[in-house]
């Protein structure tokens, strides 16, 4: 049984800097797979290549057996995989609801309608409201994204990614900048998602990583230095030196 996501021999240089160095990675169906490593290890660059924003110098990427190495970002989303961003990317002057409704609209694929108003279209609003409810933003649906708190924007970021109805979510530091309680809430939320979507999780919050991950891959200098179960990673001396250090 092949994995949902299969990355083989992925490589990327920025000038003299090797950001990804022969990366191999599998995400099984129904799995939360954590990708960790120190700052500058190449985690975001790896996510960028898997999502299709950055063209790798070498290597292949398969999603559910389909070679997606040459597909553009939108085509990969349609194939069932999307990402969230380390730095929140939402439409700031639109409401939370409008942001998610826009995703719903794109997913439904009828964006060449030039006449009927979109803002009152229940076919978009109803599923968007349900999605906001799920990520815990139900009460804040009509607030403009720019007026949401940082934590709420992280929830919105997740809601937008989820609304594409992916089989695989690439989450780049969903807990970035969250307080302890907010992080705990996000952890609960992600754990609940596990039923229906596989996740490749980049995260610095080790409590969250060890609570959520089925498997962990550790990157350093663009290379995998360890991978295995959380227990095995916790026990790994090399990882401890490179990264976990004080943890």
């Amino acid at each position: 049984m092949s994995a949902l996501l299969e990355v083989r021999g992925l490589a990327k240089r920025f000038g003299g800097l090797v950001a990804t160095d022969g990366l191999n990675l599998d995400v099984a169906s129904g799995e939360i797979h954590a990708l960790i490593g120190p700052n500058g290890a190449g985690k975001t660059t790896a996510i960028g290549q898997i999502a299709g924003e950055i063209r790798p110098d070498a290597g292949t990427i398969h999603l559910a057996g389909q070679d997606i190495t040459r597909l553009g970002v939108p085509a990969r989303v349609r194939a069932g995989m999307t990402r969230s961003f380390q730095i929140t990317q939402v439409l700031m002057n639109a409401s939370a609801l409008a942001n998610v409704a826009l995703v719903e609209q794109v997913r439904q694929g009828h964006s060449f309608r030039l006449w009927r108003p979109a803002a009152r279209d229940e076919r978009l609003l109803a599923p968007a409201r349900a999605m906001l409810e799920r990520v815990g933003l139900g009460a804040r649906a009509d607030v403009a994204a720019e007026d949401l708190s940082h934590g709420e924007r992280r929830q919105l970021e997740l809601a937008m990614a989820l609304a594409t109805n992916p089989r695989l979510l690439l989450l780049d530091e969903p807990m970035a900048g969250l307080g302890t309680t907010e992080s705990a809430a996000m952890t609960v939320l992600l754990a609940a998602l596990k039923q229906e979507v596989s996740i490749l999780l980049v995260e610095h919050d080790m409590d969250a990583v060890f609570a959520l991950a089925d498997r962990i891959t550790v990157l350093e200098g663009g290379r995998v230095i360890a991978h295995g179960t959380p227990a095995a990673i916790r026990a790994d001396a090399a990882v401890r030196d490179a990264y976990l250090g004080a943890a």
Binding site: P74, F85, L91, F112, W115, A118
Partner: protein, 320 residues
């Protein structure tokens, strides 16, 4: 998007004032104000169409005058050849219902091809390549001696509209005003549609739009084509207004003026383009009487408005 009570008041007052312009012009004994009003309406249509690109989609085209000029020349050239054509073509070639749609379709069709090329670039390159294509059309019409070259092409009489005398400037003003209202209502409808929502998203965060599965290109191209078509209509009205088309209509300075109108009115504000266009047309007329170096005076005025009212005239008039 929904207009605030204050904005609705400003709009109603502005359109009432425009609608009353022929009486006002009569009362103060300045019939030339009617032509100025028509010109403001025509430029407002062109500026509003550019705002769809610049303000809504985030595509700063520096070649928008090309579509204005192509619309004008479509009407002018068809009328020029009308006499050589046999019936019923000779009649159709001067009928508004037949040639004005062509003045929309010709620029739109060319924009489909040119837009497909220009939209492969972005940022400064997009500005430069749109400018280059527009200048190409400019030099084409300068070189076309049959259609007057440098000197421009005269339209012997206005396109025929049933029930309207071709020499009736007041009636023609109302034609322009009606066209402006219809174009603005259309653009407002488009802005609030699913398509308009996507354009908004592309402007604000193209990366996010791709990450939710949207390929931006077809939508940008559609906006490019739609905006060129509307500018073509403005061109058709322009050539009828002055019974004259010249390569100046396609010159890069005209593209620049349209951009200034959009920014002056309030980028992306839809209604603002109208105020920006009216202000430019009026300032142009007033300053040109005053001094031939009117542009030197205009510059500081524009800088002042842009600095004082950062959301343009529409922001200043309509509030938030």
């Amino acid at each position: 998007m929904r207009e605030s009570p204050r904005q609705i008041f400003v709009l109603v007052a502005s359109f009432a004032l425009l609608a009353a312009l022929p009486w006002i012009a009569g009362a103060v004994g300045r019939p030339d104000l009617v032509t100025l009003g028509s010109q403001a309406c025509v430029m407002a249509i062109a500026a509003a169409s550019l705002d769809l690109l610049m303000g809504r989609t985030g595509l700063p085209s520096f070649g928008h005058a090309a579509w204005l000029g192509l619309g004008a020349y479509t009407v002018g050239i068809l009328a020029f050849h009308a006499r050589d054509l046999g019936p019923p073509w000779d009649q159709w070639a001067v009928q508004a219902w037949a040639v004005w749609p062509l003045a929309v379709l010709v620029p739109a069709a060319l924009a489909a091809v040119i837009g497909a090329l220009c939209l492969r670039t972005s940022g400064i390159s997009f500005i430069m390549i749109t400018l280059a294509f527009a200048q190409m059309f400019f030099f084409l019409f300068v070189a076309l001696k049959t259609y007057g070259g440098d000197d421009g092409l005269t339209l012997r009489r206005r396109s025929t509209i049933p029930g309207i005398a071709p020499r009736d400037d007041v009636a023609f003003f109302y034609v322009c005003l009606t066209a402006l209202v219809l174009v603005l209502l259309l653009l407002r409808r488009v802005a609030a549609s699913r398509f308009g929502t996507v354009l908004d998203g592309i402007r604000q965060n193209e990366r996010r739009m791709m990450a939710i599965g949207l390929s931006p290109f077809p939508y940008k191209l559609a906006a490019f084509v739609l905006s060129a078509g509307i500018a073509g209509l403005a061109g058709a009205l322009h050539v009828n207004l002055f019974r004259f088309a010249s390569p100046d209509l396609l010159h890069w300075t005209m593209s620049g003026e349209l951009m200034v109108m959009v920014v002056l009115g309030g980028l992306g504000s839809l209604w603002g383009a109208m105020f920006g266009a009216a202000a430019m047309v009026v300032l142009h007329a007033v300053l040109a009487q005053w001094t031939e170096h009117w542009q030197i005076v205009l510059g500081p005025i524009l800088v002042a408005v842009v600095l004082l009212a950062r959301r343009g005239l529409w922001g200043a008039l309509g509030g938030k």
